[in-house]
């Protein structure tokens, strides 16, 4: 998985024809005692504690900056999804009634806005992350994966706090009482985090070479917003007739991992009467498509990042 520099000779006894011409026996012994040669820069590390310390500290510092950076501090961080929610709520329940008959539509709307905000913060935030931390990358050795992961972790901090607001809203304003399927929440979040991490690794590595990744991702983000059941419930899609090759639209729609996660959240947390993501996509076998997509993206993101990690410092 980790790329070693090429020509990794046999331990300390160099066989290279232009190395030190002759190595005395005692030196050879000493060379062996040096152990493995220095590895070049890489995505990961064998010092996992340092990996975690770095990821956590970078994320924490960024969080602190947002928290204490302005007069209102965290209020702003909280206000952003809430304001977006407010606007969407007024428009889509009072003006254009897309909410339809969905039960607890405001709660669904708020939860989805918060989760979508997490996804965009993590992915769009990591696009430039490696390039923006150029001074670190070119000046010091550390596992490069720390950079996109710290962006995801920062978004996760925000999500955790925003979810508390969602929880209060769901229970107090919408009268949903806690129930056993709330235990699914960590799994849904894990699914979202894995998805966001995979995309983040991919984008941050690609951006080093291709600078138009950023505008492309801005557009994709917009598409994902309207392609996920945020401002309308999935019943709107389920109501569509037909579909290509006899596949109902709703099944195709649910392949979007965000739609899958949001719908499962709605089913498990807010309204157990709503179809679960697994029902909506058409059953278990079909569910493997979004699940596999997320797993696949994670692997691809990891491989791409891992392969480009040794050269990032040279391309910046």
């Amino acid at each position: 998985m980790i790329e070693l520099p090429p020509a990794a000779g046999a331990g300390g006894s160099s066989t290279s024809e232009h190395g030190p011409s002759s190595v005395p026996a005692s030196d050879a012994e000493e060379y062996l005692s040096l152990g493995a040669p220095i590895r070049g820069p890489s995505a990961l590390t064998d010092d996992w504690r340092r990996f975690w310390y770095l990821t956590y500290t970078i994320a924490r510092n960024e969080f602190k900056l947002k928290f204490f950076g302005s007069a209102l501090g965290y209020v702003w961080q909280l206000m952003r999804p809430l304001l977006l929610f407010g606007v969407l709520y007024v428009v889509f329940t009072r003006v254009v009634k897309t909410g339809g008959t969905a039960k607890h539509f405001p709660a669904i709307l708020l939860a989805d806005v918060v989760m979508f905000t997490f996804f965009i913060e993590a992915t769009a935030g990591s696009v430039r992350s490696v390039v923006d931390r150029e001074s670190l990358v070119r000046k010091i050795q550390f596992p490069r994966m720390v950079i996109p992961l710290s962006v995801v972790l920062l978004a996760l901090f925000n999500l955790s706090l925003n979810l508390i607001v969602v929880g209060i809203f769901v229970v107090a304003a919408q009268g949903v009482s806690p129930h056993l399927s709330w235990l699914e929440l960590p799994l849904i979040l894990l699914f979202l985090v894995v998805f966001a991490t995979g995309v983040s690794m991919l984008l941050s590595a690609l951006f080093v070479r291709f600078r138009d990744v950023q505008p492309i991702w801005d557009v994709v983000g917009q598409v994902l917003f309207y392609g996920s059941p945020v401002i309308y419930p999935i019943e709107k899609v389920a109501g569509l007739h037909g579909g290509p090759f006899g596949i109902p639209w709703i099944h195709l729609y649910m392949v979007n991992p965000l739609a899958f996660a949001f719908e499962q959240f709605r089913h498990a947390i807010i309204d157990s009467g709503a179809p679960s993501a697994f029902q909506a996509i058409g059953g278990w076998p079909e569910s493997l498509i979004p699940l596999g997509l997320v797993a696949g993206l994670f692997v691809v993101g990891f491989v791409v990042f891992n392969r480009s990690a040794p050269e990032i410092a040279e391309h910046l």
Binding site: P5, I58, L136, R138, D212
Partner: protein
Amino acid sequence: MEERDLRGAPLALRADSVTKSFRIPEEATHTLKERALHPLRAARYRLLTALRDVSFEVRQGEFFGIVGRNGSGKSTLLKCMAGIYAIDHGQIWRRGRLSTFIELGVGFNPDLPARDNVIMNGIMLGLSPREARARYERIIEFAELEEFQDLKLKNYSSGMHVRLAFSVAIQVDADILLIDEVLAVGDASFQQKCFDVFNDMRDAHRTIVFVTHDMSAVNRFCHRALLLEHGEIVELGQPEAVADRYLELNFERETGVPVPDLTPIAAELAAQRAADRPGAGSARVLEAWLEDDRGARLPAAAIRQGEPLALKTLVRFERAVDDPAATLVVENDEHNAMLVVTTLVEHERTGHFEPGDHCVFAFWFENVLAPGRYHPVITVSRRGGELDLLDRYQHQYSFVVTGSRATGGLVDVPFRTSYYPLPAAASTVAR
């Protein structure tokens, strides 16, 4: 310089035929669009070999210098040792923990107070958060910043900034330290402090690899040194021999820019260093000259002592810059900053400059300098300190102050004296 036999000491670092080349793309594709439109066009590269077959060993407790001209590959070698660049061929081994100081204060965030930055930087350099927190007090104490620790870093002066960064760096207990020319920053007193620390480290038998082109530093500290030229070792051994060879190499080379009033070797050094201006390229100091108070240009070879003087400099902006600041440091031959004049004090807002705009910065001062040669160092920066350095103009211009009123001091400030003969009885009391 003390002679210590290090041959018996265990190896700390070993490089075996290290080769590193960079692929410089002839036509850079920077977008996916270009890539998608021309999928089959093979990217053409020019191969630039920065290091060729470099082998050497460093023993534990050794102070090892790596010297060479700009572009000789010395910084690349350091980055390979630090694990920042991947090596193409060959290998490097090391024993023990290794810390790199290519730049002081890596990871510093201007919007956070000292504490967060110290911990971040410490972790970057290999401490655990607990160790970093435990050492925080000592770091702040060494940096003499106890009163300012709650201040955000952006409110620090550049001197405070460097002091803090350096204090963190020396608190990191690595077995091997890789140091790039961090000494180039800071004022003379801070440089002295750095030198003291280096001496302590050497006496404490730490292994230090030190990249520089300051030959005096090599002679002062290093047990052994290595001279690189075009990515290959040309000399490896005693620092004196390496320093001689270095000067020889520079002397052989033809001078590009003639610098008047300098000895040939110094001129060569100056021309070669001039190519290494570290500015981000947003601005270029094109020229510097001296004028008297009536605006007449003065010959650099004979500046009269004690008269008002203006050093003016012509700057061209290559990119749009807001509120650039210019600072003049006049150094003497020993690189002591004799005086510092900056626009930052009087002209905080210097306005907006477009690419291609020119600006003349003038530094007026009373010429109190003692007779001797002086080297102005002009830096143009964006406001916010040396981190946003746009250009540094150095080693390209020097002037000589002449005068008869040499007192032996570094400066000859206007003074007067008087004396009061005391009656005999009073003198015993006064004494």
